[in-house]
């Protein structure tokens, strides 16, 4: 079943059509990649799906439920999680606390009990700390368990954001250029992490420029250009599509 559906989605910024009349869907359990040249609108698309932007027209459906226009924190409650192209790490907190914030919705968040430090709050917090340490291990950040987020290298922070997103126990995880700025080794590590995530049953939607990674990992690809859908299909299909080729390499047929 289509976990996520985008129907005739459009977004304009003062005359610039960042996304125009876009329709596609993501199947549950898939790794679905969005590709396209710079400026094609990929991050805008993510921001539209995750509620950071409101669509100018069109709809987004998650689990067959209309979600366009909902705020990001409401979408998180429905099981949607994401990472950012420009890291949005909480540098004022420790690494493990970053991940713990990820499970915010699963913790005892009541004000008075927190103020009074009731046992239920403490217990859930302790469990949270343990499972978040487990998540940091899962993404390969064991050696940063006690570190401050501000002291971690870029590559590790990208994985920390993924751990945080996973702490929310999402049904669908949107990764915005997880390999951006990483070298070959780090990219391979992220690749492994993504495969592990997908293996747990989480649907993954990926925006990425690294074609090798995309072609190797995806079940399905949607290609964008100038905010419109250029092509879609399996990696083999998309790779062979002449329009995709010319959009990336320049029109020369």
């Amino acid at each position: 079943m289509s976990l996520l559906k985008v129907e005739k989605l459009s977004k304009e910024f003062g005359g610039v059509h960042a996304i125009e009349d876009l329709t596609f869907s993501v199947e549950a359990g898939h790794i679905h990649s969005i590709i396209g040249p710079n400026g094609a609108g990929k991050t805008t698309l993510f921001n539209l799906i995750t509620g950071v932007y409101t669509p100018s027209s069109g709809r987004v459906l998650f689990q067959d439920r209309l979600v366009s226009g909902m705020k990001p924190y409401e979408l998180a409650a429905l099981g949607m999680s994401r990472t950012f192209q420009n890291l949005q790490i909480f540098f004022n907190m420790k690494a493990i606390e970053n991940v713990m914030v990820g499970s915010h919705l699963h913790l005892d968040r009541r004000f008075l009990p927190s103020l009074l430090r009731l046992p239920s709050v403490i217990r859930k917090d302790r469990q949270c700390r343990e499972s978040c340490a487990g998540l940091m291990e899962f993404v390969g950040l064991v050696k940063y368990l006690d570190a401050d987020a501000a002291s971690m290298p870029y590559g590790a922070l990208k994985r920390l954001e993924i751990a945080r997103a996973l702490a929310a126990k999402p049904r669908i995880l949107l990764l915005d250029e997880p390999a951006a700025g990483l070298n070959a080794t780090e990219s391979r590590e992220i690749d492994e992490v993504i495969k592990r995530v997908a293996a747990t049953g989480v649907t993954v939607v990926l925006v990425e420029h690294d074609m090798k990674m995309v072609m190797g990992i995806s079940d399905h690809i949607t290609a964008l250009d100038y905010g419109r859908k250029l092509a879609e299909g399996t990696p083999a299909q998309v790779r062979a599509n002449p329009e995709v080729v010319s959009a990336y390499l320049g029109a020369h047929a």
């Binding site: 995750t50 509620g51 950071v52 705020k71 990001p72 924190y73 979408l75 998180a76 409650a77 999680s81 994401r82 950012f84 949005q88 790490i89 909480f90 540098f91 004022n92 907190m93 606390e97 713990m100 914030v101 990820g102 499970s103 915010h104 919705l105 913790l107 005892d108 968040r109 004000f111 927190s114 103020l115 009074l116 430090r117 709050v121 859930k124 917090d125 949270c128 945080r164 997103a165 702490a167 929310a168």
Partner: protein, 315 residues
């Protein structure tokens, strides 16, 4: 040192200091200054939740303090309510005002938020000065003692112990809040609002929550201050007072409850120590504000802790 030991140790140390300090007090003047320092400390612990932890700013918090003070004054003197009820009612009213005003204001950021809170504080100040039929205008209002069920708090010593207990309680509550999911969500809002939003934190609501909490703290202290002093004027709502409060928080250390406490104590004691050079007081305060922010932007306590860490083994 883990957060847990730091906090239990800190609380214990605070309690010991409060209990032992009077041994060095030779007359009630000391008690008086100490009580004022503790009053400021309680307000600053609350304000620090807003500024240091949630990363917002308020240049109008003296307004909430004054509303608490005047609320108690008006309700007890003009309407004859018992002091405790007046204090609670005032705090509730201030909380409501902070909620109503907070929602639109906290959508603003940085300079705009600072100016909006400044505007609110000054408007409160002007209203208190102008509506003299209700508030006594620039000449102020007087109040009776604070009493609960016939038992009155009279004299500097009684106030000292009462407020001392209140301070320890406040710090305990604040520390609890910070080390909880709510506290982490607040700090996350400071770290990255959109990052917090996508993991389910309703950032607007959390910002309003901490704004209301800090306003209520200020209001309660305002009420108690009014009863202790027996007399209040609209000056307590001045821009200068709001600035003093913010300076206390940033001086001691933002995102540090004990830091805010220390900042409050230092800036309350400073004018006493500088009594001889009173004419330089404004210049010194201004210089402290500039100096701290330029050379120790994280505030006294975190900077000290950081240098101790570096000296003690470079971990």
């Amino acid at each position: 040192m883990t957060f847990k030991t730091a906090r239990t140790g800190g609380l214990a140390l605070l309690a010991i200091i409060i209990a032992a300090a009077p041994l060095g007090f030779s007359n009630s003047y000391f008690y008086d200054v100490a009580v004022n320092a503790m009053f400021n400390a309680i307000v600053c612990v609350g304000l620090n939740l807003l500024i240091g932890y949630a990363g917002q700013i308020s240049l109008g918090h003296a307004g909430f303090f004054a509303l608490g003070a005047y609320g108690s004054a008006i309700l007890t003197t003009t309407y004859g309510l018992p002091p405790l009820a007046a204090m609670v009612l005032s705090a509730a009213a201030v909380g409501l005002l902070a909620f109503v005003v907070g929602r639109p204001i906290l959508k603003l950021k940085g300079h705009y938020l600072a100016m909006a809170t400044l505007g609110i504080g000054i408007i409160i100040n002007i209203v208190l000065k102008t509506e003299s039929k209700i508030t006594g205008g620039p000449d102020g209002m007087s109040l009776d003692n604070f009493s609960v069920l016939g038992f009155s708090i009279v004299g500097d010593r009684m106030w000292y112990w009462t407020v001392g207990v209140l301070l320890v309680l406040t710090v305990w509550l604040a520390l609890n809040l910070i080390d909880s999911p709510v506290g982490r969500a607040l700090r996350a809002v400071h770290g990255s609002e959109v990052g917090a939003e996508v993991v389910g934190v309703d950032t607007s609501s959390y910002k309003v929550l901490v704004f209301v909490v800090s306003a209520v703290f200020a209001s309660i202290v305002g009420s108690l201050f009014a009863h202790k002093n027996g007399f209040i004027t609209p000056d307590i709502a001045s821009f200068f007072h709001s600035v003093e409060l913010v300076t206390m928080v940033v001086l001691g250390g933002m995102a540090s409850t004990f830091g805010a406490l220390i900042g409050a104590v230092i800036l309350t004691l400073l004018p006493q120590l500088l009594a001889a050079v009173e004419q330089y007081e404004a210049m010194i305060l201004g210089a402290i504000m500039m100096g701290t922010m330029i050379f120790m932007p994280k505030g006294l306590l975190p900077s000290l802790v950081a240098s101790v860490k570096r000296l003690g083994g470079g971990r």
